[in-house]
């Protein structure tokens, strides 16, 4: 199993195992696996839908037409055979009629003349086994044929009563006194005011031959049964004459009919049948449906094979086209994400650069103190006017050390800000982060008389987040607020816990506000209203992305001339991320 799997691995698209969660604040625009599946599904529907529909339609229509053709052909065959059989029996009945009508009673009852009549009938029409004359008492007083039936009495035979009643009788095939299968035509005549029955036996071999001459496909069968389902002629696969047929007896129909049925072995048959009028016979033609449908099936297999090869070809083409397209998008998107990561880094450095002026000022002040203290120390040693020089010098050195520490803290804070480009989730004190960021901006706030208020509710715990990214978020928001405010403005930063598993941070300024038309676009990359003042248009876009990456949400409310409020909701733990 390992080998085929290894082979299939080669066809796995490069984006298949890509997880969007790894892409940082600038997430991929697409779920590539889902995109690929949707493209494949769409292409499969468009390309294969019509083909498969056509194949199914063709299958159904041709099957229906073939079955219809089989039914018509079977019905036609039954009709023709019915006419043949009926004609065979009718011709013999008319011949007997002719004999009785055109021969005097004395001649018919004469044994020698009966023999001549028998010979003449077989010579012209054929198919007669014997001839006999029977009285209304059932006695066969004249007989010519191969059996010893002279003087036999038929008064107890059912056919005798039927012919006496109806005047005409076609018997079923039966064994009778001769103990061999045969059938009889009996006609009642009135001769010299006395009723007689003229009876002829039909040669069943001739009868069987007539039926068996029907041209059938495969192992099809044509035969007669009586109304009780007893075979009247022998069959190829449904039994011998006088056996019971294993197929159901067709219900009476005035016309030729066709139906399908399964035999006891589960083989499906197409059966055409017709009730022969004035006889006890039902003509049946049976053919195996599988044999009849074989040519159609053969054609279908060819068509289905073509369709199957077509489908495989199309599926392969779809796979390669969809994979190629989505891979192109994936590669482009990866480049986009990578570029935006670089932009984020650049923006981060740019924001540090913007801080540089303030930082330089902050460092220059303690440096100036160091300079003066060192200078004073030198002055004391040079001018030597102080009586208690040691105390004075220690005081100067302490001051120098304190100023050096002050510089160190500033540089550490700056360095701490530049680090941590990758996500590093730790527990942090949100107030400490705010103070950290404000540390860079306190002097600017002081010089511009901007009132900065920070209020953090007491029930705010440490939250699981990325320290560097949160610093960036606050720096961007506070920088934006400072840019929007006039000197003497006020900035309010509040941290609350409105719901159990989240904190809400609001940064509110009383600056110029954002026009409503711009509000919808402020998170778009490169959208800026401060381009002339050095804005890149990435600050809020990056801030929004960072908040999202940390599992939070960010909203803004602003009124022109009144101020702007940014509302950030952050989860307490990364498990609570939406």
């Amino acid at each position: 199993m390992a080998s085929p799997m290894k082979f299939l691995q080669k066809f796995k698209p490069i984006f298949w195992d890509y997880r969007p969660g790894n892409s940082g604040p600038f997430k991929s625009l697409f779920n590539f696996r889902s995109l690929w599946k949707r493209r494949v599904l769409l292409l499969v529907c468009v390309a294969l839908g019509p083909l498969i529909s056509l194949a199914i339609f063709n299958h159904m229509v041709t099957r229906h037409d073939t079955e219809k053709e089989i039914y018509l052909r079977t019905a036609r065959l039954v009709s023709n055979t019915k006419r043949t059989v009926s004609f065979f029996l009718e011709k013999r009945k008319l011949a007997l009629d002719f004999v009785v009508q055109h021969h005097p009673f004395e001649k018919i009852t004469d044994a020698e003349h009966l023999k001549i009549l028998f010979s003449d009938l077989n010579a012209t029409i054929g198919g007669f086994t014997d001839l006999g004359l029977i009285t209304t008492a059932g006695d066969q007083f004249r007989y010519y044929g191969p059996y010893d039936l002279q003087g036999k009495n038929y008064v107890d035979e059912p056919w005798f009563h039927e012919v006496m009643e109806k005047g005409l009788y076609f018997s079923e095939v039966f064994r009778g006194f001769r103990d061999t299968p045969h059938l009889v035509i009996a006609i009642k005549y009135k001769l010299n005011d006395t009723f007689y029955i003229f009876r002829a036996t039909i040669d069943t071999k001739r009868f069987n031959q007539l039926i068996s001459e029907v041209e059938l496909i495969g192992n099809g069968d044509a035969f007669l049964i009586n109304h009780q389902g007893i075979l009247q002629t022998s069959t190829r696969s449904h039994g011998l004459a006088l056996e019971s047929i294993k197929l159901p007896i067709p219900e009476y129909s005035e016309h030729t009919a066709v139906f399908e049925v399964d035999d006891v072995d589960g083989e499906r048959y197409v059966i055409g049948y017709a009730y022969l009028p004035d006889t006890p016979f039902i003509l049946m033609i049976t053919e195996q449906k599988s044999v009849l449908m074989a040519p159609w099936l053969k054609t279908q297999i060819v068509i289905i094979s073509f369709v199957a090869f077509g489908v495989i070809g199309i599926l392969l083409a779809i796979y390669f086209v969809a994979t190629h397209l989505v891979t192109q998008i994936f590669v482009a998107d990866q480049k986009r994400v990578q570029t935006l990561h670089e932009v984020e880094h650049t923006s981060r450095l740019a924001s540090i650069g913007r801080l540089a002026a303030g930082v330089a000022h902050e460092i220059n002040n303690p440096l100036a103190i160091i300079n003066e203290k060192a200078g004073l120390t030198k002055d004391i040693l040079t001018y030597g006017q102080q009586t208690d020089q040691t105390t004075k010098l220690i005081s100067q050195i302490d001051s120098i050390l304190a100023s050096v520490e002050r510089c160190g803290n500033i540089t550490k804070r700056l360095l701490g800000f530049a680090r941590h480009l990758e996500v590093n989730i730790i527990k942090v004190n949100i107030e400490a982060i705010i103070e950290d960021v404000l540390g860079f901006l306190t002097k600017e706030a002081e010089y511009r008389s901007i009132q900065v208020t920070v209020k953090v509710d007491e029930n705010i715990p440490e939250i699981e987040t990325d320290r560097g990214k949160m610093q960036q978020v606050f720096l961007n928001l506070i920088n934006n607020a400072f840019a929007a405010m006039q000197d003497g403005g006020s900035l309010d930063i509040r941290v609350r816990r409105r719901v159990q598993n989240k904190i809400t941070i609001t940064v509110t300024d009383d600056g110029s506000g954002i026009p409503e038309a711009d509000l919808k676009r402020i998170y778009e990359p490169f959208f800026s209203t401060k381009t002339k003042k050095g804005g890149t248009g990435l600050g809020l876009s990056i801030t929004y992305g960072l908040v999202q990456e940390l599992g939070g949400t960010m909203d803004v409310q602003s009124v022109v001339g009144v101020g702007t409020q940014f509302i950030i909701n952050l989860p307490l733990t990364q498990e609570n991320k939406d």
Binding site: N365, L367, A368, E372
Partner: protein, 119 residues
């Protein structure tokens, strides 16, 4: 000759004043613009050395106020910012005799003071 040093860093301004005093220059100091104006209202100075950026009242604003109190006063500005814009965006009139970047070299400062008072 009496000069007034003004900077929001008390340690800086007091030490600088002490060092100037050791060099024979009578230097007074103030930790904010308000204190500087208050002192200028009480006594006369020949020269004011002002930090540009200070909370509430900047060095430039202090100069503007002082000009009304002591019109003859001359000025030297100090700044922690390394940008020339901070120097020249303010007043560049004849009464402003110099701009110095922190940390200030005391000899240069004394040179500027002498230059200002001699002119």
């Amino acid at each position: 000759m009496r000069i007034l040093l003004v900077d929001d860093e008390q340690e800086l301004v007091s030490t600088l004043a002490e060092r100037l005093s050791m060099r024979g220059i009578d230097a007074d100091w103030a930790c904010s613009g308000e204190e500087a104006l208050e002192k200028a209202g009480r006594q006369n100075y020949d020269l004011a050395v002002l930090d540009v950026k200070m909370p509430r009242i900047s060095g430039l604003e202090v100069k503007a106020e002082m000009e009304m109190i002591q019109p003859e006063l001359r000025y030297i500005f100090m700044t922690g910012h390394g940008s020339a814009n901070d120097f020249y965006s303010g007043s560049s009139d004849a009464k402003t005799v110099g701009y110095l970047i922190k940390p200030v070299n005391i000899d240069i400062l004394i040179g500027k003071i002498k230059e200002a008072l001699s002119g």
